[in-house]
Symmetry: C2
């Protein structure tokens, strides 16, 4: 029985599973933005937007600081390295599987081609 757990990846992949939150990352890629600006951009209440930003913040993808009455949101310095690493390693798993499948299919083809009828 295997015991897995990586709350960091849990949180960041969960954060990325929502189109609005992926959009917020796009937006912040163009520069810092307040909750109000983001809420306007995505046609949502301030409270709704605040929750999305909190999810991104808990995932370490976004950082915020309060400047006067405005909360300024920016991309976090942690970046997407861990997520990219997981995806890359496992992308190869998928590819290897299909390489293996190709091999099997080629072997079957050879067995057919050599006319042994087996």
């Amino acid at each position: 029985m295997v015991q897995y757990s990586n709350t960091a990846l849990d949180r960041s992949f969960a954060a990325l599973s929502d189109a609005t939150r992926r959009g917020i990352i796009d937006e912040l890629g163009r520069g810092e933005a307040s909750i109000t600006v983001l809420a306007d951009r995505f046609g949502m209440t301030l409270t709704g937007m605040k929750k999305h930003v909190q999810v991104l913040e808990r995932a370490g993808l976004v950082v915020t600081r309060k400047v006067g009455r405005v909360r300024s949101c920016a991309l976090g310095s942690r970046g997407l390295a861990a997520e990219a690493a997981w995806i890359e390693v496992h992308r190869r798993l998928f590819e290897d599987r299909f390489d293996a499948l190709d091999e099997i299919l080629n072997e079957m083809k050879q067995e057919n081609d050599d006319g042994s009828g087996n």
Copy 2:
């Protein structure tokens, strides 16, 4: 107001946000496996495991077929290309932001260094 939506990425990132499901992908990288084998491996009921596999299947990451009374699960041919692509594009957004920050910090440093005292 921006209108985003990409259910494919929604589903696959959501599927990847659970450690058990990421573990299932690891496991299937070593070869096909039945629901029973996976349930054993992760110390879970058959019903629980079936749900995880369904989430992965809806996300297109896993394919299953019923052979007799056994459901055989394997990695899907779609792979993780779309997810890798999103991550790569946005990884650069993060990096560019910090390049920009570096620039600003360098400019500030220069202004300090030139002794204008401004």
